[in-house]
Symmetry: C2
Subunit: 433 residues, 2 copies
């Protein structure tokens, strides 16, 4: 051993740390930062140009010019979140559902404010899951949360998903199988993105919404199996009907959790999400949050309260719908034109909202990060999210589909979408040749 630099004893990390891995997206973010000429169709970020800078100037001028209000914004608030904001959000949910809060047995005290909706997703997992517990999720699913669930020690059971979202018959069958094998006590959550899904862009159809709730109730024989409805993209709706949430059918506020966020429809820099949840779960989640941070940034909550009350929020959502609708259309047109000769081999989703389009290549294609296709796309100067990040391996066969990729029209400037798709098409065409 070298005398001058003795060996340093290593750290003993927790079992949870050992289960926690870097999010796969980190590589893509780092690559995009290091290669600014790349057209980044991978980033799930929102559009820089439509961020509400003017609105926030007006709001903060008003807020900080009013001394008592400024002081309230700069002081601590509660772990649950700013009371007037929770009241405003209850009204906002009523408007989205076209239903009074009483019909969902919801009050402002059933709404929790968090550091983005990701924190709510985390805290719900933390309050419910022991290592070995089961979460049922569509396949593919939002990969950041499946990574979080894995870190919490959960087993994720993938369920069949089609163009109308998670398949209720498949869910019923899966729960029935689990019941027969006495595995139902391990099942804690059914997780899904119910609007303009990340990664597929697809929406759970209207008729499936109450059906999923009934299935959760049916199998809640000895303990409650909860539906965790992630509605992050709900307000980025470009066409199609405004569907009520699964939560809206839960008349007693006992079986469903609805998470929403200001990150997508207003500004991610304010990092504020909100969640409506059953009171007994709220109690457990709130105690966890008391240990995590005893309350998210109050200033951001005060800014969002003013945005809601002044109408700036509603106005901004309309602006975003207009802007992203145009970007979605541009991407769909570019896909049509780039792949007109390959139509039989490729399919893609046509989302009514959100930020994502899901591209499916022939079965034997490999889009994964180590694949020649991914490398070829980089060489052509375009970045996508490999679809395999979003899948769970098949529970028995271990099969992991690798013939998909996720495209986003979120952050990429509109005029870069056609050349981006053109570059992607060149890489794919070379590969399929």
């Amino acid at each position: 051993m070298d005398r001058t630099t003795p060996a340093i004893p290593s750290l003993f990390l927790s079992a949870k740390a050992a289960r926690t891995h870097e999010q796969p997206i980190s590589y893509l973010i780092a690559y995009a930062l290091a290669n600014p000429d790349l057209i980044n169709l991978a980033a799930g970020l929102v559009d820089d140009e439509t961020l509400p800078a003017d609105e926030c100037l007006t709001i903060t001028q008003k807020l900080f010019s009013d001394k008592p209000r400024a002081r309230r914004a700069l002081q601590y608030d509660t772990t649950l979140g700013l009371r007037p904001l929770r009241h405003a959000l209850l009204k906002h949910i009523e408007a989205l559902e076209s239903k009074p809060a009483s019909a969902m047995n919801l009050s402002a005290d059933d709404i929790l404010i968090t550091t983005g909706s990701q924190q709510a997703l985390y805290l719900i997992g933390d309050a419910l899951l022991n290592p070995g517990d089961i979460v049922i999720a569509p396949n593919p699913s939002y990969f950041v949360y499946t990574g979080t669930l894995t870190s919490l020690g959960a087993t994720i059971l993938p369920t069949h998903t089609d163009e109308n979202g998670l398949d209720p018959d498949a869910l019923d069958q899966l729960l029935s199988d689990l019941a027969q094998r006495n595995q139902l006590p391990r099942v804690k959550l059914i997780y899904l993105t119910s609007y303009y899904d990340n990664p597929t862009g697809l929406t759970l159809s209207a008729d499936r919404r109450p059906r999923l709730l009934e299935i959760a109730k049916k199998y809640s024989q000895h303990h409650r199996i909860l539906i965790l409805e992630d509605a992050a993209y709900r307000e980025l709706r470009y066409d199609g009907p405004a569907l009520p949430s699964i939560k809206s059918y839960d008349q007693t506020n006992q079986y469903t959790i609805l998470t929403q966020t200001f990150s997508k429809p207003f500004a991610p820099g304010l990092k504020t999400g909100y969640t409506a949840l059953p009171p007994d779960l709220m109690n457990a989640v709130l105690q966890q949050k008391g240990n995590h941070d005893f309350g998210s940034a109050n200033l951001c909550q005060q800014i969002l309260l003013e945005a809601l009350e002044s109408g700036a929020y509603a106005h901004h959502v309309q602006l975003l719908q207009h802007s992203y609708r145009a970007k979605r259309d541009t991407m769909l047109e570019a896909l049509n034109s780039a792949f007109c000769t390959l139509h039989s081999a490729l399919t893609w989703t046509r989302p009514h909202g959100g930020l994502y389009i899901w591209l499916t290549l022939p079965d034997n294609t490999d889009t994964s990060r180590p694949s020649p296709l991914f490398h070829s796309a980089l060489t052509h100067g375009v970045l996508y999210v490999p679809g395999d990040y979003c899948f769970q391996p098949h529970p028995t066969t271990g099969h992991l589909p690798k013939n998909h990729l996720r495209l986003s029209f979120g952050q990429v400037p509109k005029q870069k979408i056609p050349p981006g798709i053109h570059r992607l098409a060149e890489a794919i065409r070379e590969h399929l040749r």
Copy 2:
């Protein structure tokens, strides 16, 4: 069973949720809110009147008037935190330590931005602790974090503490005992508040700082035992020397973690803390934070960057030192005058900074929440924090000291301090009679 309201199956919560309890302070907060005439000497909140409203008006006007900058503030940033803020904080730490970062082997990438320093404390526990692991802490300790550690399943071993802070000889003896019983592999952290402690107001003396580091190294035989140095109150210094941190002696950045915050010296509503930590622990903590929220509110970070760069932060800290120094002096004078006839029975600390004074009553006194004294204080219209919240029971005898109480001159208006202490003195005098 009632047919109209069938019994609802209960939730199966996680083992962690079962270990998590409401913070005891919640009762005090609720009581104070419901009784506005009460003089609240319990609240550890900061002063409303000195919150930087004007500074934040200037900063946000500047920030939101500059379109590219406004957009950066409203967009996502990284999990680690805003790069220019981390660079500014590295310089800030250099100034506080009067030492170049290189002498502590620190770079801006060793600094993590969190949702208040509480989130850093949580994440560090999460990355290091398995149920049954040991954290060594002074007795008394900051009770919010000991509650968090308990929720993570840790065993907290209390160590002897005197007017100079945690006693190195007692720490050495405790670790030696643990080594003899082969319990050293369970020891992960030594936690302490090194400046103007919550609850005692006391500061770890200069000579003990390098000694604690040496002891941590000495017992890091098979794995590293880390010192977690909570320096939340460091910059609220009213007199006495500006001591270097324990971290400043850790030339290789391997054995100590230093957490600081903007909540006390600037504004809690921005909910932003920062932590310097060893790179291998950073890696584990960052992965946890990636799952918790993938980054704290970026807008708050941009505001604080501007506050640091414009000099508004340094100016505001001076103003706070001036204001809290006067409130501390007022409370000490009020204690002197109220208890002049009881001096032999009562002692209290004379802090050089922070927000707290620790009062010690005769051994057989009971200040706890169910006690007649606590009730009598409420009747007289004054609220304090019972000292037993801050203690761990003695590991063998189970003894829990109940003859202390914590007073804060933080949030209470200066003119209410003398009547508050007068009310407290009346309650205590009646009780001791």
